[in-house]
Amino acid sequence: MSATRRILASFALAVTLGMLALAAGCSREPENDAGVINIYSARHYQSDEALYRAFTDATGIRVRRIEGTDDALIERILQEGAASPADILFTVDAGRLWRAEQAGVFQAVESPRLSQRIPSQLRHPDGKWFGFSSRARLIFYDPERVEPGMITRYEDLADPRWIGEICVRSGGHIYNLSLMASMIAHHGLEPAEAWARGLVANFARNPQGGDTDQIRAVAAGECGIAIANSYYFARFMASDDPADRALVEKIRWVFPNQGDRGAHVNVSGAGIVVNAPNASQALAFLEFLATSEAQTQFARGNNEYPVVAGAALENPSLEQLGPFKADTLDAALYGVHQAEAQRALDRVGWK
């Protein structure tokens, strides 16, 4: 055999072996009696594994998962098309659920149980996706720099008196895009853009880091005000670390707009993929997520708020944060206004 051929042969062999090594794992057929579901998830919380285990224990249905970034998962499902093994797309933002729905990823599902338990603004009208947990976008402040009661609404943050005080993450991040989209939905584009311009003028520093970093920066004194999601702060509250305890002592929180529309909340949700090979098992999974047990698990394991009324929190941090009024804006609007929100934030220089 010539060296050329040997090289080509070994190349082909390596490729074939690699292919076969995992081709066995990609069959679309269910593998046992109760079956299996394939979840494409953009949630990357370790607590989700407990959720999946609980589902398998309850139903016998095995869960296989691929975790990745939302848009890449959507792209993968679209490219895989009719042959896609995906049963469920599970993601973390209403804007993305909307985009996946627009791209034709989901199929409509009729489930009296789901439509009865999940509030209508947190699910698609045709049952293409359902929100299962929510998180609120809160304002945190240092009481030494900001008198309690001075800030009660998102709109207050644009007041020039807070110049050099506000810390927040990048304007390209979905949390801020959805907040901006809700401002656009409530006030219209121009007032919302003016608000964002005022907010940017009050920045203490260039947007950087994650939500946790903004909270820490308030505690360290670099800024007086931060915008961050509820569950990052709840995590600090539950920490054993004395430094985290000290941080929580130093900081006050505000559920914004309690006197009017309520605090901006965003959902994490899922839907059944249009070509799902295991659609009935997938529906069982969605209905499982709406049970009180699973709903409590979102709160207990990951500091998220349940969406089903009356589900227990079993989470001292969330209980200490207290009840609040949530904005009942249709979550799909975050998606509708998302690109517009991004363009507006780019224009006002929210990097």
């Binding site: 690699g18 093994p85 920066a217 998302q338």
Partner: protein, 560 residues
């Protein structure tokens, strides 16, 4: 087998492989001709100037950084003798084991306003956070520093190989003709090492352009940020592809500059390498200075961040640490190993094909195949996904019609898609090393072997491959380490329930659990250390042996 039969197939195979590898890049580039959804105009008007400005500064700064760190250390450990040199010689490669995003997380944790360093300053002085100025780590300067610290080993490795292999005669001649040590360095050694150094800088810059993790975390808007923003926030993949195409043009220019810079120069090895050259003995203050110069990149690029990660992992590591990590480690290592073998094999075929048929079409394929290195991993992933799923659907339809058998997605369902993406992305690295090795072999050797009656295949096997062994190992090890660190393509193309160390680190870091993410990050670094140390030994091995084997290979009688 007949000697002539390998002749036409090798260049053809080279073309085929290069075309396959170029496929994802071409797929991305072709999007340019599709109508976009309006994001492009918005980006071009509002954001592009800033992206271009920041990208240029990032590239220029990182080029300066990797050259300053890599060149100085490579020269010192190659030609000078000072205490600790033998350890530094290999230890200087260690920062290569760090993914840029991990070192960025680690330094942010140390240096941000709520980190231990600034807290200590405040406790010591009684100042408040706004009473003093501290260099912000999350900035363009910070990104340049992070990327320089982890990428300088490319310049160091290639530069050191060049310095070690320079003929002693030339340097001695320079000294005899009245050059001082600096003169010999500036006028002779540096110009001779230029192709290697430029190649090292180019690799570092391509990785800089492809980086997303660091710049995104630091909030520095550069091209990759724009690609992500266009695609993910503005929902416009076509505009994202247009930005990628601009990025590609940029890289093409860089590569063309390098070719132009090299010009017609050829550097075939003649005469004995510099092993017997008398090294400069450094004593006293100079020795201290040399050690300090070498300790700066090693300390900041490896010792300090690794120490901090180890501490974080110790006080609050990943609760899932345990048996699961064996699985993660195995997945990471087996993927990296298979990719390394495939990438090196592909590089040998492409590189040697180029040597056999150095025509214009081959040159084009060769060049395009190497571009993937500068493309962000998630863009490559989509570039892989589109042609591969197309092939998959075709394969499925074919199997269904011929065998009445309907499988799942064979190509994208397994790790093949991942391997494809890795080779598309990292072929540039292995090709670089193979090309550099081939360039040093004078064509006279090919002619001699051919004159003695060997075909090109057997010449490759019996002459080039043995001489190239060191280069092949280097190429394989670098690809191995790069795959271990790779994240975005892995994330999207992997099969079900298939996590790697990088994925585990990402999941925790994306959830802003940096202390927990430290365990997996440290595991990536530790698992990457073994190949990196092998790599370093490879580089620091005295070169005579290789030279002898070169002669031995030529003289060894052919097997019957």
């Amino acid at each position: 087998m007949g000697r002539g039969r390998g002749l036409p197939s090798l260049p053809a195979a080279a073309m085929l492989i290069a075309a396959l590898v170029a496929l994802p890049v071409v797929t991305v580039a072709l999007h340019v001709f599709l109508p976009d959804e309006g994001a492009w105009r918005h980006i071009a008007r509002v954001l592009l100037p800033e992206y271009i400005g920041n990208t240029l500064m990032l590239v220029a700064g990182t080029a300066f950084g990797v050259l300053a760190l890599g060149l100085s250390t490579a020269w010192l450990v190659s030609v000078c003798r000072f205490p600790g040199r033998r350890i530094l010689e290999w230890a200087l490669v260690l920062p290569l084991a760090f993914p840029a995003y991990v070192i960025a997380y680690t330094y942010t944790d140390l240096l941000q306003v709520s980190g231990p360093v600034q807290t200590f300053i405040r406790d010591l002085t009684g100042w408040a956070a706004r009473d003093y100025w501290f260099p912000p780590i999350r900035s363009l300067g910070g990104a340049i520093a992070m990327l320089s610290l982890v990428l300088y080993p490319y310049v160091y490795l290639l530069g050191r190989a060049a310095f070690v292999q320079q003929s002693s005669g030339i340097l001695e001649a320079a000294r005899t003709l009245g050059c001082g040590p600096w003169g010999a360095f500036l006028k002779v050694a540096l110009p001779m090492a230029r192709p290697a150094l430029v190649a090292g800088v180019l690799l570092a810059l391509m990785e800089t352009l492809a980086d997303f993790g660091t710049v995104a975390y630091f909030g520095v808007p550069v091209f990759t940020t724009g690609i992500y923003r266009a695609w993910f926030s503005l929902g416009d993949p076509v505009s994202a592809a247009k930005l990628s195409a601009v990025l590609l043009a940029f890289v093409f220019t860089l590569v063309a500059l390098e070719r132009w810079n090299r010009g017609g120069m050829r550097f075939h090895q003649v005469g004995a390498p510099a092993a017997e050259r008398k090294p400069y003995e450094l004593k006293g203050g100079r020795a201290v200075l040399a050690v300090t110069v070498c300790l700066v990149p090693l300390g900041f690029g490896f010792l300090l961040p690794a120490g901090r990660l180890a501490w974080l992992a110790w006080i609050g590591g990943d609760a899932q640490f345990g048996a699961r990590y064996f699985g993660l480690l195995w997945n990471s290592i087996s993927l990296a190993g298979i990719s390394a073998i495939v990438a090196v094999t592909a590089a040998v075929v492409v590189g040697y094909g180029m040597r056999l048929r150095p025509g214009a079409p081959m040159r084009l394929f060769h060049r395009v195949a190497g571009l993937g290195y500068a493309i962000p991993g998630s863009v490559i992933a989509v570039g892989v996904l589109i042609p591969l799923t197309l092939a998959d659907h075709g394969l499925r339809a074919w199997l269904a019609s011929w065998f009445d058998f309907e499988p799942g997605l064979i190509l994208t369902g397994g790790i093949l898609g991942l391997l494809f993406a890795y080779v598309a992305r990292f072929l540039a690295v292995s090709l670089q090393s193979v090309d550099a090795g081939l360039a040093r072999i004078t064509p006279a050797m090919d002619d001699a072997a051919r004159a003695l009656g060997e075909g090109p295949g057997r010449t490759l096997k019996r002459v080039h491959l043995p001489i190239l062994r060191a280069n092949l190992l280097t190429a394989g090890l670098i690809v191995f380490v790069d795959v271990m660190k790779e994240l975005p393509a892995t994330l999207i193309l992997r099969p079900f329930d298939f996590d790697t160390l990088a994925v585990q680190a990402y999941k925790l870091a994306a959830d802003e659990r940096l202390a927990e993410a430290s365990t997996a990050s440290l595991a990536i670094v530790v698992a990457g250390l073994i190949p990196v140390i092998l790599l370093a030994r490879q580089v620091s091995r005295p070169p005579q042996r290789r030279h002898r084997s070169e002669a031995a290979t030529l003289m060894e009688p052919a097997p019957a």
